[in-house]
């Protein structure tokens, strides 16, 4: 029972990181109908920037985090400007958007690899230890990761549902053309969405880097976030969070009780099983193409 609780606590903290990533995908997907493959590159970029801000410039953790977030916002917005904008204006097929995103991802990840080297680095932040609740010992960093992740998601919720720009984004996610006829600036919507993407990816990258390690291909973990957003249901932000928590907890249980090598295998099997029995995800509506 203790092992079980221990794994659940650990699963919640990794699930929180997955939620940040899954929400980032869902946000872009809900407005532009394509998967932002460059997202994992933003995540690795954010983690690297924070890593070098601390290890080379000896900045405090919070300052480094803010610098990393700002740089990731810049990276995300400029990728949008360079790689997606003209395709979006031309109403190019989604396949082209995906290939372009894939290209941006390949280029950024391999640039990081070339400049910083492919080795695994320990994130230079002191271990703030654990505290115990009954028999379960909880890492303080895990708690911090959970709190900040949900804090960021909460802020995003407030932004989307309680402010005017948020209303504009929600309108664009229903129909971007009609929204622009109603006087919503499409370019501003794109700017805000990709800036939010930068924030989410950078926060997720920093906490993932602290939990495991910082390396150029660390973004491969975003495949878990995509699986989580399919499990939850496509294009919906709450469903992405639910799917992420579920996947995080289940895969940590598998790692604890069976073997950590089969953790990744399990998440893939989980996807196939969910698709077989819930073709639209657990909370999704019909995913038929809209005419």
């Amino acid at each position: 029972m203790d092992l079980f609780l221990q794994q659940v606590v650990s699963g919640i903290s990794i699930g929180a990181i997955y939620s940040l990533l899954a929400v980032g995908y869902a946000l872009v997907y809900s407005v532009y109908n394509f998967t932002n493959w460059a997202f994992d590159a933003f995540m690795a970029f954010g983690a690297f920037m924070a890593f070098y801000a601390i290890s080379s410039f000896f900045l405090p953790f919070w300052v480094a985090a803010i610098i990393s977030i700002l740089l990731a916002i810049g990276m995300a917005v400029s990728t949008e400007k360079l790689a997606y904008r003209s395709l979006r204006l031309r109403k190019a097929p989604r396949l082209f958007m995906m290939i372009s995103a894939m290209g941006a991802n390949l280029a950024i990840v391999n640039l990081l690899n070339l400049f910083f080297g492919g080795q695994f680095r320990r994130f230079p932040v002191e271990n703030i230890g654990t505290f115990s609740m009954g028999q379960v010992s909880v890492g303080r960093m895990d708690v911090l990761a959970g709190i900040i992740s949900f804090g960021v998601l909460g802020l995003l919720w407030v932004f989307l549902y309680r402010t005017k720009p948020g209303l504009g984004i929600r309108a664009s996610s229903i129909d971007i053309l009609t929204a622009s006829l109603m006087g919503i600036n499409n370019d501003a919507v794109a700017f805000i969405i990709f800036a939010v993407t930068g924030v989410l990816s950078s926060v997720a990258g920093i906490f993932y880097g602290i939990k495991y390690a910082v390396y150029p291909t660390m973004g491969i973990v975003t495949i878990k976030a995509m699986i989580a957003s399919i499990v939850g249901g496509l294009g919906s932000l709450p469903a992405a969070v639910v799917g992420s928590m579920l996947l995080g907890i289940l895969e940590t249980l598998v790692a604890g009780y069976i073997s950590s090598t089969y953790r990744d295998l399990f998440s893939f099997l989980f996807l196939v099983i969910i698709l077989l029995f819930f073709p639209n995800g657990l909370m999704g509506k019909s995913s038929d193409e809209k005419l």
């Binding site: 394509f34 003209s86 995906m98 941006a104 391999n110 491969i220 495949i223 196939v272 073709p279």
Partner: protein, 299 residues
């Protein structure tokens, strides 16, 4: 000479795998980044059949390809049945290929785990590869010009319209995926018997991106384009070794640039055809009278 042989053999193997990706991505419009997984399945199946069960190489290649094709249904049936949009199919293929690599990496009993599978002789020679590439091109051409190929193109243009015209989406996509995985499996088998050993580290996401690059650069809805680029992409890095660190960065930037300025690829929508050969043949060998007759008959 050995160096040239290496380029021809590796280029030919890359061509066969890229033709598989061309059928599913170029013609059916489904984005895949997991074909390295199918290559691994075909390669290991073929290697085990030849070394353990002493099956002839050619038959083992075909069985390996069929095995990869059947395994593609693991992901094809749930992904297509749930009408996942194209992006999510791509994630599913990536997940499958990573899962396959993980299983191969941790199973030490039959497939040798991370050490790799050894004991193959060097059966893949230049003539074998050349014959395989010609057959692969021939059958791919037959497929994409057949009714099934036309259904695939219809799906890539507009799924809803294709369905209204009576195209069975699930069946057509599964056929395209099966053939595409078959090609990747055969390429994997050829690779194992050229390298004389197989390791899970051959089949990483980098290889999948290389295959996708060949199709994107070569052109959508074209066989001859990916064939040329698949060969060039193998030959050029071999010739310019210094450049190898920058290879994937340049690929990535080229992906973006090609999508922005020439999204159909270098030879997009250019179909390979042998009409010129038939014209020349007729011009040279057909007697004048008979030729006129056939033209009238055609009209």
């Amino acid at each position: 000479m050995g160096y040239l042989n290496a380029i021809i053999i590796l280029g030919g193997i890359n061509i066969i795998a890229a033709l598989g990706v061309a059928i599913i991505t170029g013609y059916t419009g489904l984005f895949t980044i997991g074909h390295a997984g199918f290559m691994a399945l075909g390669g290991y199946a073929c290697a085990i059949l030849v070394t353990t069960f002493h099956v002839p190489f050619a038959i083992a290649l075909i069985i390996g390809g069929l095995f990869a094709g059947l395994c593609s249904f693991i992901i094809g049936v749930p992904a297509f049945r749930s009408q996942l949009r194209g992006d999510y199919f791509a994630i599913a293929t990536l997940g499958l290929s990573e899962a396959i690599r993980l299983i191969l990496n941790t199973t030490y009993k039959v497939v040798g785990g991370a050490f790799g599978f050894m004991g193959m002789s060097n059966l893949t020679t230049v003539p074998v590869v050349v014959i395989a590439v010609i057959l692969a091109l021939f059958f791919a051409h037959m497929f994409v010009t057949s009714q099934y190929g036309k259904n695939c193109i219809a799906i890539s243009q507009d799924e809803v319209a294709a369905q209204m015209m009576g195209v069975n989406l699930l069946r057509t996509k599964l056929i395209a995926l099966f053939i595409s995985a078959f090609y990747a499996g055969v390429a994997g088998g050829l690779m194992g018997f050229y390298m004389a050993y197989l390791s899970p580290s051959f089949f990483t996401i980098t290889r999948s991106s290389d295959l996708l690059a060949a199709v994107v650069f070569g052109g959508i809805q074209s066989l001859i384009g990916p064939t040329i680029t698949a060969f060039v992409l193998v030959a050029v890095p071999e010739l310019l070794r210094v450049f190898s660190e920058w290879r994937l960065i340049v690929y990535g930037l080229l992906f973006v640039i090609i999508m922005l300025f020439r999204p159909q690829g270098l030879l997009g929508y250019v179909e390979m055809n042998f009409a010129f050969a038939r014209r020349w043949w007729n011009a040279v060998f057909t007697p004048h009278q008979a030729k006129q007759g056939t033209i009238k008959g055609d009209q």
